[in-house]
Symmetry: C2
Subunit: 197 residues, 2 copies
Amino acid sequence: MGNKGEALRQRIVASADQLFYQQGYENTSFSDIAEDVGISRGNFYYHFKSKDEILNAVIDTRLTDIVQMLDEWSKKYTDPKQRIFEFIDILTNHQNNIKNHGCPLGSLCTELAKQNHPMLRDANKMFAVQRDWLTVQLKELGLGKGAKQVAMHLLAHSQGIATITNAFEDQNFLRQEVRRLKQWLDEQIQGQNKSGN
Amino acid sequence: MGNKGEALRQRIVASADQLFYQQGYENTSFSDIAEDVGISRGNFYYHFKSKDEILNAVIDTRLTDIVQMLDEWSKKYTDPKQRIFEFIDILTNHQNNIKNHGCPLGSLCTELAKQNHPMLRDANKMFAVQRDWLTVQLKELGLGKGAKQVAMHLLAHSQGIATITNAFEDQNFLRQEVRRLKQWLDEQIQGQNKSGN
DNA sequence: CAATAATTAGGACATATATCCTATTTTAAT
DNA sequence: ATTAAAATAGGATATATGTCCTAATTATTG
């Protein structure tokens, strides 16, 4: 099995990943990716026989990357709250990209949903693993039954921040809302035994 | 000036509006719209000389519709809180469409941003008028300086709800979060004089 | 009714793009 | 080193699409 081919394959996926994020999936052509990688279309086609195939590979990589990132945080930080704050800080750390291209996960799902693309159900797994990880953290913080709902709210709020930041091209709003989100989370943790949830 | 032409023009815009929402802007062709209206491409081109022109017309209509909707609520309800609840209920009232196609405003802005389309700045006015209207309502409720921030949060949260509902194709989540959003707004109004904002 | 303007239809054209195919070059295996 | 497999390049093809053009039809106006 070609070792060289595998390396190129990964370069192609990385390129496609970037371009899909910056320009959108449909709006990115085989030629775009091939040119970005510096290979011919024919060679590209040797590695990926269809556009769905490269999309599938991109989603897989993103999913793997997300899981790895979450795992690292689980190891690196003992405090679940700190872990969640790390999650929220993704927004701040990528504010410039978000301003220009929105959220990579959200904007991809939005596009796939619009085209009724069957791979939406693979793409939204990227959200699902985050939701599940957040739920675990929140349960450790004492939120019982409500943990999953709060996790979903965290996802939704993050998405909203990304969409509006992107629409208004306004990073200030992002920072403002991140502050609000952290504050909200604090309250959520503080009041966790108010209603015995 | 042709009266007949104006009527057809409006039918075209209405069709484009729908199709842009359901399939996305780039993914909708002249032929798609012409076919949907029941006219020839040539005739279509007589009314709209470019794709940007029809996009512009769609954004204009949406903007007009939004302003009209907000004006009506301002007249129909005297209680600003009820007005805002009406705004939030858009989500519930369109839950099936949102599940399938997301938010018409948000998904359009996301697409335009991704293509670096200059008309993004026109499209986000659809959000801006909502933000301003919400700000007015919130000020009437006693939120002073914080009104605009709360208005923006309302927009962002709504967007997040739409994006996640769409990504997971899950209307239950929408209803859940709408409840949460209304509750949050209540608290916001209740505690409006806590910090004297 | 005549003539001018508005409207409509449908074809022409250039371009872009996903996909396929074949020839050539590079790498790996015996 | 020779041979088989892997990798790469670049052209061919079919299709879609935005845009343009011209001829025909309909509506309007004097």
